[in-house]
């Protein structure tokens, strides 16, 4: 562990440590893309009795019209978490101030409960590398990210949490992704967005050592979990076996994490287009949300459902 992280982590204490911000608990929700597909899905989702406790939105989708996020958030009338890449946490060259101002405007427009940002390098100042690239595992890189994240946190209207990237290539540098995420979370004193989805995506590029990864993650810092919820019918198509196995793994992991007393996420967030050609069935999402509430948030909706409350 980096010295700076070790200092902040402090000695082991008895009992659960306080969770990093956001300290509130929001419940279960899904990533709501700003598109007609999701607009139509949402109608069907409501028709089958589905409801979310919180929604996740992508800041980039509102950049051309930041006010549209305020209108959309008002319509949803639930807490919003804003997913961002604007902070480019891994980049040595910082993004222009107007970019950072824009994500803060969006956060204020939707009264964001918190912002989720990626532990990734995004390129150079004005030269995008094309995605969320796994950073080098060097101490210099980790320290740059800690500084960038502290600066972002200190200038944000709401808490910021940090997400594990997919492992696209072999580890280059001393630290694994899990170690670096732990050091970043502790060093900048922010919560972790634990993306089971990104671990599954790694499978297509570089098989991630999942055991090693989970051994590094301080579960008491996990404030959000990202998990796949693809289309159930398509998961049974020929050729989809591997994807189906990833979905099953993610559900098993979710159940396992729920049994860990240290793991007390504020939010469990489902991603609906991960791995299958079509979006999830609304009934499937509805049931997954119920399951997540029961696992993590003390809800007991199954009885209600089987009694005919939700079909």
């Amino acid at each position: 562990m980096l010295e700076v992280a070790r200092t902040l982590e402090g000695p082991a204490v008895a009992g659960p440590r306080p969770v990093p911000a956001p300290t509130e608990t929001y419940g279960a929700g899904f990533l709501f893309h700003y598109s007609i597909k999701y607009q139509n899905f949402f109608k069907r989702f409501q028709e089958v009795g589905g409801h979310a406790d919180i929604y996740e939105v992508l800041g980039v989708q509102y950049n051309p019209d930041p006010d549209s996020l305020a209108r959309f958030a008002a319509q949803l009338n639930k807490p919003i978490t804003l997913h961002s890449f604007e902070y480019c946490l891994g980049n040595v060259e910082r993004p222009p101030k107007k970019t950072l101002d824009r994500i803060q405007t969006l956060a204020r427009n939707c009264k964001a409960a918190y912002i989720g940002e990626h532990m990734a390098i995004m390129g150079l100042g004005d030269y995008y590398c094309g995605g969320f690239m796994q950073p080098p595992g060097t101490d210099e890189q980790t320290l740059v990210m800690i500084d960038n994240l502290i600066d972002a946190k200190n200038n944000s209207c709401c808490p910021i949490i940090v997400e594990n990237p997919s492992q696209f290539v072999n580890q280059y540098g001393r630290a694994s992704i899990g170690e670096q995420l732990r050091d970043l979370s502790v060093g900048a004193d922010v919560g972790i967005l634990l993306s089971l989805s990104n671990i599954s995506i790694s499978e297509e590029f570089h098989k991630q050592d999942r055991e090693e990864f989970f051994s590094r993650i301080p579960l008491d810092r996990v404030r959000q979990i990202h998990i796949l919820c693809g289309n159930g019918e398509e998961l049974n198509w020929p050729g989809m076996q591997k994807t189906k196995e990833e979905h099953e793994w993610a559900l098993r992991m979710l159940c396992q994490l729920a049994k860990e007393p240290a793991c007390r996420p504020a939010t469990v967030m489902f991603e609906l287009e991960a791995g299958t050609p079509s979006i999830a069935e609304p009934e499937r999402l509805r049931d997954r949300l119920i399951m997540a509430r029961e696992l993590f948030f003390g809800a007991n909706e199954t009885a209600h459902r089987t009694n005919g409350g939700i079909q």
Binding site: I36, N63, P64, D65, P66, G90, E93, G123, L124, C129
Partner: protein
């Protein structure tokens, strides 16, 4: 060691096909020197499995291409009658390896590339109209919503109200009837289609996320009258015989309901609550 230079290596390798191919095919040392990588940097970047880095470079490229495919769907579908659209998209990616990939920037660059490519390769020019149609549609679809207007029911409309085209919109002129072409099956037979100058009203849809509506201007006679800005209904009805007045007001109401026009009440009218509780302009 300079982390910035290591990040530059990763960025150029992922984004720039020429850099990637050069690095793999004999120019490794020269490119490392060009980026001013020191020995420690070189040691670090050479730890990266290049096959895996190539794989994710293609993945990032595919993400970028998928976005352009969604924006320029009709254009690329019809381009497919003459060449493999994947080759066209790969050429675009190669020509524009730099910069941020914000949607507005990419829309502009893609249109510029398409026009240049189609002209250079002497492909049928209805494809240029189609590319411009896709561009205009997307630009309007993502444009910010503007403040909307007032009453829309025929009984609430009076000659002192003004009307204007609801913003944002674009009146776009094309050499071909792009709507008809976009709806037809892609075929090289279309190469002989005669030009048919077409004017379209492309207007942001305020009820659907990131969508626009498209109308032939020829089917909306009022559009021409509103191009110079808002017009008072007095001004428009004064040209009509009195027996056409109610039909005209109904037409205005229909256009307002469809979101094509906004109705504006003069600011000095103020509002009051009617008995029914609706806020109306006097």
């Amino acid at each position: 060691m300079s982390l910035r230079e290591v990040q530059a290596f990763v960025t150029y390798y992922l984004r720039d096909p020429e850099f990637r191919e050069g690095y793999r095919n004999g120019s490794r040392d020269a490119l490392e020197a060009q980026l001013r990588l020191d020995n420690n940097d070189i040691k670090l970047v050479r730890e990266i499995n290049l096959d895996e880095l190539d794989h994710i470079a293609v993945g990032f490229r595919d993400d970028r291409v998928a976005k352009r495919q969604s924006e320029y769907e009709e254009f690329l579908k019809h381009l497919g009658a003459y060449m493999d659209p994947a080759a066209f998209l790969a050429a675009y990616d190669r020509d524009y390896p730099g910069g941020l990939e914000t949607q507005s920037l990419e829309l502009d660059r893609f249109l510029a590339f398409a026009v240049e490519f189609l002209s250079t390769h002497r492909l049928p020019d209805y494809l240029i109209s189609l590319a411009y149609f896709c561009y205009s549609f997307c630009k309007i679809a993502i444009a910010p919503v503007q403040k909307q207007g007032g009453p829309v029911e025929p009984g609430e409309l009076h000659p002192y109200h003004s009307i204007r085209l609801r913003e944002p919109y674009q009146i776009a002129k094309f050499r071909y009837d792009v709507v008809r072409i976009a709806q037809s099956e892609p075929s090289s037979d279309l190469a002989g289609i005669p030009p048919q100058p077409t004017e379209l009203l492309i207007q942001k849809d305020h009820s659907l996320f990131k969508r626009a509506q498209v109308y032939y201007c020829s089917e909306l006679p009022l559009v021409g009258a509103l191009l110079s800005g808002q017009r008072m209904l007095f001004d428009l009805v004064s040209e009509l015989p009195s027996e056409d007045y109610h039909g005209f007001i109904n037409h205005i109401s229909d256009l307002a309901h469809r979101g094509i026009i906004d109705v504006i009440t003069p600011a000095y009218f103020g509002t009051y609550k009617s008995v029914a509780g609706n806020v109306v302009a006097r």
